[in-house]
Symmetry: C2
Subunit: 363 residues, 2 copies
DNA sequence: CTGAAAGCGCTAACAG
DNA sequence: CTGTTAGCGCTTTCAG
């Protein structure tokens, strides 16, 4: 592969001149520039990025850490960040870390080692304290889906509490009083916020939550099936289930279908996230929409500005969620026939069958 | 950030020795090695990858080119490749190219510029000739989902023709005779193969295909809705539709639902790909499974061996597809009532409604 | 087993 | 406007 030396010789100039036409072409006389460019073409010259990075100690690269690549949740975000970075002629390196704090930290190290100009990290299971430390030690890091007051300008997230409140209120406003919930994993901070806000909102409405109606999942589809099975097994009646992720809602839906319980006639189902497939399943999922694209765009802008690019400051870093009403939640008493749930036979009817059918193809 | 110079001074050795403990630790006396390692820890030394790459002209990096990041089709593959590359202590850089040949080529250039040790590329809309040229010019490239005889060992793909044949035969064996098809975009080579094989298989079975029953889509969901609408609008009767992608099948399904046509009772639907959501929709999709994970794994192995790693040679690079029978295809005559399609009223009944409802949330 | 020294390809003062 | 030159941090002979 040709180097600037070859090009310089060919064009009859010094390597400094070649470097100039590469970096500040207007500082070189047009005639020589043309000559150099022609020589470059002749050799189909490609600048060695490692040499450049070594000399400048910059890489024109933004690093991204996500815990899971197969998660449909991250994909649109990655895409959005990629576009934004691309538009500034920078490059994106994506690493996939898993959820544990040390895995995330390993990825951060890896990216810093590659001299990324800035990093965007999704902190997985890191505690708030760990995230704060991360932000303190790495001034070029922006964090997604977590809020650390001291570094507010480097945190971008959607308003998790507000979203939870909207969903809960909607269920209550639809007349539901016995609302079950399928949560995410306990180590997850967002999940903790959601659960707290859910309980809070219920309490405000004078609706105490029966502990039997709180089932834990891990945000993934299969855990939704299992949790729903557990919920039915308690025998405690409920008319609606609030799932803290669409994936778990789909799992729950699948379980209910196999158990002969119809949604939303027998049980209403509320999701969270508004993934692509929320509108593909039947019935289509009523859920909380999070503007993941916007999230990615804003995170990328902050990162690019940290990297020294001239980028307009983002208007806000706390995005509003949106309630998307589709078909999986029904106001209570709306169902066609006489079988408006009175809760008596419910416990008996919703016993889980002995063998729980699995949905194939799920993660 | 500390350099080997700092470490060397601290440990009282030369930089060459430090370099050795980094690369061939067994060639240095244990005592000095220990001293050096301690110095490294003291500075929390991180080797500068750019300097290394510049000196060695290797990057320990595998590059990947996919046309679209948001496509659920590529995600598991990326993940799989990432794991394989990781296991060999190499790194993966993913670029997203779009489908046009020149976009793919731009990405290849980008990655070669980063001195990737090997590349895995999904050639999008490139012609077979272009792919052949790509393979000829870049001996470190492996290609996914395309076959070039001269470079067979660098092509990994699932048997597209066989998959198509299996799907078509299954529909025929179920008694369907009037089978419509929703194809992918015409520039796509795989699509061309599928269409040819479909027609071939039909002809072999003595079932001529009415041109009105061939509708073109682009593999994405919305095109499935549109194509299905077009199909119904022809007035030509058919009992089954073979969609060349699951996404289009889901789109078709959604359209049929809104048009009051039930699947599979009125029309059977066959997909292709077996995406995650094939088993999430209702009815669950009967489709052709492609082992994308395996595809990714094998591609990664070939790439790694091209990159000079010791990797077991993959057993085969042409993977077998698998027919997954679920619920969206029904043997003809199986439906409950008397309304076994006789084709008379069909044309009238399946007229598309004036306003075509859209599925939200799709790309 | 260890050190000296010459690069790898490019950038960035500094002179001219 | 252009050329000279000294690095950037690491690898890799070649001596010792």
């Amino acid at each position: 592969m040709a180097t600037i030396k070859d090009v310089a010789r060919q064009a009859g100039v010094s390597i400094a001149t070649v470097s100039r036409v590469l970096n500040e072409p207007n500082k070189v006389r047009e005639r020589t520039r043309l000559r150099v460019e022609q020589a470059m073409r002749a050799f189909s010259f490609q600048r060695n990025v490692f040499a450049t990075a070594l000399a400048t100690n910059r890489s024109e690269t933004i690093g991204l850490v996500v815990p899971r690549l197969t998660d449909v949740f991250f994909v649109p975000m990655i895409n959005q960040i990629g576009n934004a970075v691309d538009a500034r002629h920078s490059y994106l390196i994506v690493t996939c870390s898993d959820y544990a704090a040390q895995d995330v930290e390993r990825c951060v190290r890896f990216l810093q080692q590659r001299r990324c100009d800035a990093l965007i990290v999704f902190p997985g299971a890191m505690t708030d304290t760990q995230v704060a430390a991360l932000l303190a030690e790495n001034p070029n890091v922006v964090v997604i889906h977590r809020f650390v007051p001291q570094y507010a300008s480097r945190c971008v997230l959607v308003d998790n509490r507000l979203g939870t409140r909207m969903a809960t209120r909607y269920l209550i406003d639809c007349g539901h009083r016995d609302i079950a919930v399928i949560t995410g994993p306990s180590y997850n901070q967002e999940n903790a916020e959601r659960l707290a806000t859910f309980l809070e909102t219920m309490t405000e409405a004078g609706l105490p939550v029966d502990p039997r109606l709180v089932a834990q999942g891990d945000f993934l589809l299969e855990s939704g099936e299992q949790a729903m099975s557990a919920l039915l097994a308690t025998g405690r009646r409920f008319s609606a289930v609030f799932c803290f992720s669409d994936r778990m809602a789909v799992g729950a839906l699948s379980y209910l279908r196999s158990a002969g319980v119809s949604v939303p006639e027998d049980i209403s189902l509320m999701g969270f996230d508004d993934m692509d497939y929320a509108s593909l399943v039947f019935p289509r999922l009523t859920t909380i929409h999070q503007d993941i694209d916007e999230l990615g765009r804003i995170a990328a802008e902050i990162a690019l500005s940290l990297a020294g690019h001239e980028v307009p400051a983002p208007a806000k870093t706390l995005l509003p969620p949106r309630l998307v009403v589709r078909e999986s939640v029904l106001p209570i008493g709306t169902r066609g026939g006489a079988r408006v749930s009175d809760g008596r036979e419910a416990g008996a009817r919703w016993i889980a069958p002995a063998s729980m059918p699995r949905v194939e193809g799920s993660e």
